[in-house]
Protein backbone atom coordinates (compact mmCIF):
# COMPACT_ATOMS: atom_id res chain seq x y z
CA UNK A 1 0.00 0.00 0.00
CA UNK A 2 2.86 2.38 0.82
CA UNK A 3 5.03 1.00 -1.94
CA UNK A 4 4.16 3.74 -4.35
CA UNK A 5 5.05 6.48 -1.87
CA UNK A 6 8.69 5.47 -1.80
CA UNK A 7 9.50 5.27 -5.46
CA UNK A 8 13.26 5.29 -5.01
CA UNK A 9 15.40 2.42 -6.22
CA UNK A 10 15.62 -0.67 -4.03
CA UNK A 11 19.33 -0.05 -3.50
CA UNK A 12 18.78 3.48 -2.18
CA UNK A 13 15.98 2.22 0.01
CA UNK A 14 18.33 -0.34 1.48
CA UNK A 15 20.89 2.34 2.27
CA UNK A 16 18.22 4.39 3.97
CA UNK A 17 17.15 1.42 6.02
CA UNK A 18 20.77 0.79 7.01
CA UNK A 19 21.12 4.41 8.09
CA UNK A 20 18.01 4.17 10.22
CA UNK A 21 19.22 0.97 11.80
CA UNK A 22 22.59 2.52 12.59
CA UNK A 23 20.78 5.48 14.14
CA UNK A 24 18.90 3.06 16.31
CA UNK A 25 22.03 1.24 17.40
CA UNK A 26 24.08 4.34 18.11
CA UNK A 27 21.13 6.31 19.40
CA UNK A 28 19.98 9.21 17.31
CA UNK A 29 18.44 10.78 20.39
CA UNK A 30 21.68 11.20 22.33
CA UNK A 31 22.70 14.76 23.21
CA UNK A 32 25.47 14.35 20.62
CA UNK A 33 23.57 13.41 17.50
CA UNK A 34 20.08 14.55 18.38
CA UNK A 35 20.78 17.36 20.83
CA UNK A 36 19.13 20.69 20.15
CA UNK A 37 22.58 22.26 19.66
CA UNK A 38 24.09 19.42 17.64
CA UNK A 39 25.35 19.98 14.10
CA UNK A 40 24.83 17.77 11.06
CA UNK A 41 27.48 15.12 10.32
CA UNK A 42 30.53 16.50 8.59
CA UNK A 43 30.42 19.88 10.35
CA UNK A 44 33.74 21.58 11.02
CA UNK A 45 35.51 20.87 13.26
CA UNK A 46 34.89 17.17 13.86
CA UNK A 47 34.84 16.34 17.56
CA UNK A 48 35.54 13.35 19.73
CA UNK A 49 34.68 13.31 23.41
CA UNK A 50 35.95 10.85 25.96
CA UNK A 51 35.80 10.57 29.70
CA UNK A 52 37.81 9.10 32.54
CA UNK A 53 37.03 9.10 36.25
CA UNK A 54 38.91 12.37 36.61
CA UNK A 55 38.08 14.39 33.55
CA UNK A 56 36.19 14.79 30.34
CA UNK A 57 38.29 15.50 27.26
CA UNK A 58 37.08 17.06 24.04
CA UNK A 59 39.19 16.70 20.88
CA UNK A 60 38.49 19.16 18.07
CA UNK A 61 39.97 18.20 14.72
CA UNK A 62 40.77 21.71 13.52
CA UNK A 63 43.91 21.79 11.37
CA UNK A 64 45.55 25.05 10.43
CA UNK A 65 43.78 27.37 12.82
CA UNK A 66 45.40 30.10 14.87
CA UNK A 67 45.02 28.72 18.39
CA UNK A 68 45.50 32.15 19.94
CA UNK A 69 42.39 33.43 18.20
CA UNK A 70 40.24 30.53 19.25
CA UNK A 71 37.40 31.38 21.66
CA UNK A 72 36.76 28.68 24.20
CA UNK A 73 34.17 29.33 26.88
CA UNK A 74 32.30 27.17 29.33
CA UNK A 75 29.11 27.87 31.19
CA UNK A 76 28.06 25.14 33.59
CA UNK A 77 28.42 22.10 31.35
CA UNK A 78 28.06 23.87 28.01
CA UNK A 79 31.36 24.20 26.19
CA UNK A 80 31.44 26.65 23.31
CA UNK A 81 34.30 26.78 20.84
CA UNK A 82 34.31 29.33 18.07
CA UNK A 83 36.86 30.75 15.71
CA UNK A 84 37.74 31.30 12.13
CA UNK A 85 39.74 29.23 9.74
CA UNK A 86 41.34 31.30 7.04
CA UNK A 87 42.19 29.43 3.90
CA UNK A 88 44.62 31.26 1.67
CA UNK A 89 43.35 30.84 -1.87
CA UNK A 90 45.65 31.37 -4.80
CA UNK A 91 43.79 33.78 -7.07
CA UNK A 92 45.73 32.82 -10.19
CA UNK A 93 45.37 29.09 -9.76
CA UNK A 94 42.83 26.78 -11.29
CA UNK A 95 41.02 24.87 -8.58
CA UNK A 96 39.88 21.32 -9.20
CA UNK A 97 38.79 20.43 -5.70
CA UNK A 98 37.86 22.63 -2.77
CA UNK A 99 36.66 20.24 -0.14
CA UNK A 100 38.29 21.86 2.87
CA UNK A 101 36.31 24.14 5.15
CA UNK A 102 37.09 27.83 5.34
CA UNK A 103 35.39 30.57 7.34
CA UNK A 104 33.86 30.99 10.76
CA UNK A 105 32.82 28.04 12.84
CA UNK A 106 31.15 27.46 16.15
CA UNK A 107 30.41 24.32 18.08
CA UNK A 108 28.51 23.98 21.32
CA UNK A 109 29.10 20.77 23.19
CA UNK A 110 27.07 19.71 26.20
CA UNK A 111 29.35 17.87 28.58
CA UNK A 112 28.23 15.59 31.40
CA UNK A 113 26.66 17.47 34.31
CA UNK A 114 29.44 16.75 36.79
CA UNK A 115 32.21 18.79 35.13
CA UNK A 116 33.86 21.66 37.00
CA UNK A 117 33.78 24.78 34.77
CA UNK A 118 36.59 26.34 36.82
CA UNK A 119 39.12 23.68 35.91
CA UNK A 120 39.59 23.64 32.17
CA UNK A 121 42.82 23.13 30.30
CA UNK A 122 43.33 23.49 26.54
CA UNK A 123 46.24 22.66 24.22
CA UNK A 124 46.79 22.70 20.45
CA UNK A 125 49.04 20.23 18.67
CA UNK A 126 49.23 18.93 15.09
CA UNK A 127 45.87 20.46 14.29
CA UNK A 128 43.96 19.02 17.23
CA UNK A 129 42.58 21.18 20.03
CA UNK A 130 42.42 19.18 23.23
CA UNK A 131 40.22 20.56 26.00
CA UNK A 132 40.19 18.77 29.33
CA UNK A 133 37.60 19.58 31.98
CA UNK A 134 37.95 18.13 35.46
CA UNK A 135 35.06 16.27 36.98
CA UNK A 136 33.88 17.17 40.45
CA UNK A 137 35.22 15.03 43.27
CA UNK A 138 31.75 14.14 44.44
CA UNK A 139 30.94 12.55 41.11
CA UNK A 140 33.82 10.07 41.14
CA UNK A 141 33.14 6.46 41.93
CA UNK A 142 33.96 5.76 45.55
CA UNK A 143 34.75 2.68 47.52
CA UNK A 144 32.13 2.11 50.14
CA UNK A 145 33.12 0.15 53.17
CA UNK A 146 30.64 -2.09 54.93
CA UNK A 147 30.85 -1.62 58.64
Amino acid sequence: MFGSVYSESPLLAQFRRLEEELDEVFGSATPWTGGIRSLPPGAFPAINVGSTEDNVTVYLFAPGIDAKRLNISIQQNLLTVSGERELARDEDATYYRQERFGGEFRRVISLPDDVDPDRVDATYRDGIVQISVRRRESAKPRQIAIR
Binding site: N48, Y95, Y96
Partner: protein, 135 residues
Amino acid sequence: MTNATEVAMQAASAGEDKQSLVNAAPATAIRPLVDIFETADGITLQADMPGVSKDGLNLRVDGANLLVEGTIGIVPEKQMSPLYADIRSTVYRRSFVLGNELETGNIDADLKDGILTVRIPKRPELRPRRIEVRS
Protein backbone atom coordinates in the same frame (compact mmCIF):
# COMPACT_ATOMS: atom_id res chain seq x y z
CA MET B 1 35.74 -17.51 55.20
CA THR B 2 37.34 -14.55 53.56
CA ASN B 3 37.56 -11.26 55.32
CA ALA B 4 36.64 -9.20 52.31
CA THR B 5 34.88 -6.33 53.93
CA GLU B 6 34.91 -3.89 51.10
CA VAL B 7 32.57 -3.81 48.21
CA ALA B 8 33.49 -1.74 45.23
CA MET B 9 30.62 0.40 44.08
CA GLN B 10 31.55 1.69 40.70
CA ALA B 11 29.58 3.48 38.10
CA ALA B 12 28.90 1.26 35.12
CA SER B 13 30.84 3.56 32.83
CA ALA B 14 34.00 3.18 34.90
CA GLY B 15 33.94 -0.60 34.67
CA GLU B 16 35.68 -2.79 32.15
CA ASP B 17 35.55 -0.29 29.34
CA LYS B 18 39.20 -0.11 28.32
CA GLN B 19 38.73 0.70 24.67
CA SER B 20 40.47 3.69 23.17
CA LEU B 21 38.67 6.80 22.03
CA VAL B 22 38.95 5.97 18.37
CA ASN B 23 39.23 2.25 18.06
CA ALA B 24 36.90 1.40 15.19
CA ALA B 25 38.04 -1.26 12.75
CA PRO B 26 41.59 -0.27 11.79
CA ALA B 27 40.94 -1.22 8.20
CA THR B 28 38.55 1.69 7.66
CA ALA B 29 40.63 4.75 6.94
CA ILE B 30 39.40 8.32 6.92
CA ARG B 31 39.42 9.98 3.51
CA PRO B 32 41.10 13.33 4.15
CA LEU B 33 39.46 16.38 2.61
CA VAL B 34 41.64 18.06 -0.01
CA ASP B 35 42.03 21.16 -2.11
CA ILE B 36 43.79 20.67 -5.43
CA PHE B 37 44.86 23.51 -7.67
CA GLU B 38 47.08 24.04 -10.67
CA THR B 39 49.43 26.88 -11.49
CA ALA B 40 51.80 27.32 -14.42
CA ASP B 41 54.55 25.49 -12.52
CA GLY B 42 52.68 22.53 -11.19
CA ILE B 43 49.90 21.10 -9.11
CA THR B 44 49.46 21.65 -5.39
CA LEU B 45 47.49 19.36 -3.12
CA GLN B 46 46.47 20.36 0.39
CA ALA B 47 45.02 17.77 2.72
CA ASP B 48 43.49 18.17 6.18
CA MET B 49 45.05 15.53 8.38
CA PRO B 50 44.63 16.71 11.97
CA GLY B 51 46.62 14.72 14.51
CA VAL B 52 49.30 13.58 12.09
CA SER B 53 52.88 14.56 12.81
CA LYS B 54 55.87 14.12 10.52
CA ASP B 55 56.58 10.70 12.02
CA GLY B 56 53.10 9.45 11.27
CA LEU B 57 53.04 10.56 7.67
CA ASN B 58 53.57 8.22 4.75
CA LEU B 59 53.73 9.80 1.32
CA ARG B 60 54.49 7.46 -1.57
CA VAL B 61 54.66 7.68 -5.34
CA ASP B 62 54.24 4.39 -7.13
CA GLY B 63 54.29 4.85 -10.88
CA ALA B 64 51.52 7.34 -11.53
CA ASN B 65 49.93 6.83 -8.12
CA LEU B 66 50.36 9.21 -5.23
CA LEU B 67 49.43 7.68 -1.90
CA VAL B 68 48.79 9.96 1.06
CA GLU B 69 48.62 8.13 4.37
CA GLY B 70 48.91 9.29 7.95
CA THR B 71 48.35 8.01 11.47
CA ILE B 72 46.92 10.14 14.25
CA GLY B 73 49.61 10.34 16.90
CA ILE B 74 47.56 11.81 19.72
CA VAL B 75 46.55 8.87 21.86
CA PRO B 76 43.98 9.26 24.60
CA GLU B 77 44.57 7.91 28.09
CA LYS B 78 44.22 4.15 28.43
CA GLN B 79 41.21 4.22 30.72
CA MET B 80 39.29 6.73 28.64
CA SER B 81 35.88 5.65 27.44
CA PRO B 82 34.34 7.35 24.42
CA LEU B 83 31.24 9.49 24.88
CA TYR B 84 31.01 10.61 21.28
CA ALA B 85 33.17 10.27 18.17
CA ASP B 86 32.95 11.94 14.78
CA ILE B 87 36.34 10.45 13.94
CA ARG B 88 36.22 6.68 14.23
CA SER B 89 39.61 5.72 12.87
CA THR B 90 43.22 6.66 13.51
CA VAL B 91 44.37 6.40 9.91
CA TYR B 92 43.92 8.75 6.97
CA ARG B 93 44.33 7.35 3.48
CA ARG B 94 43.66 8.62 -0.01
CA SER B 95 45.35 8.11 -3.35
CA PHE B 96 45.52 10.15 -6.51
CA VAL B 97 46.53 9.44 -10.08
CA LEU B 98 49.17 11.79 -11.44
CA GLY B 99 49.56 12.73 -15.07
CA ASN B 100 52.54 12.12 -17.36
CA GLU B 101 53.35 15.80 -17.48
CA LEU B 102 54.20 15.84 -13.78
CA GLU B 103 57.69 15.39 -12.43
CA THR B 104 57.06 12.71 -9.83
CA GLY B 105 60.71 12.53 -8.83
CA ASN B 106 60.69 16.09 -7.62
CA ILE B 107 57.76 16.29 -5.22
CA ASP B 108 57.97 18.65 -2.29
CA ALA B 109 55.90 18.11 0.87
CA ASP B 110 55.28 20.11 4.00
CA LEU B 111 53.21 19.33 7.09
CA LYS B 112 52.11 21.98 9.52
CA ASP B 113 49.35 22.05 12.15
CA GLY B 114 47.70 19.03 10.57
CA ILE B 115 47.72 20.35 7.02
CA LEU B 116 49.74 18.51 4.41
CA THR B 117 50.86 20.49 1.38
CA VAL B 118 52.27 18.57 -1.58
CA ARG B 119 53.72 20.38 -4.58
CA ILE B 120 54.18 18.39 -7.75
CA PRO B 121 56.10 20.30 -10.44
CA LYS B 122 55.38 19.99 -14.14
CA ARG B 123 58.17 18.94 -16.46
CA PRO B 124 59.84 22.13 -17.66
CA GLU B 125 59.31 21.29 -21.31
CA LEU B 126 55.61 20.82 -20.69
CA ARG B 127 54.87 24.05 -18.87
CA PRO B 128 52.44 26.20 -20.82
CA ARG B 129 54.02 28.75 -23.08
CA ARG B 130 52.29 31.79 -24.29
CA ILE B 131 52.25 31.85 -28.05
CA GLU B 132 52.54 35.23 -29.62
CA VAL B 133 50.54 35.87 -32.74
CA ARG B 134 52.56 37.61 -35.41
CA SER B 135 50.68 40.06 -37.49
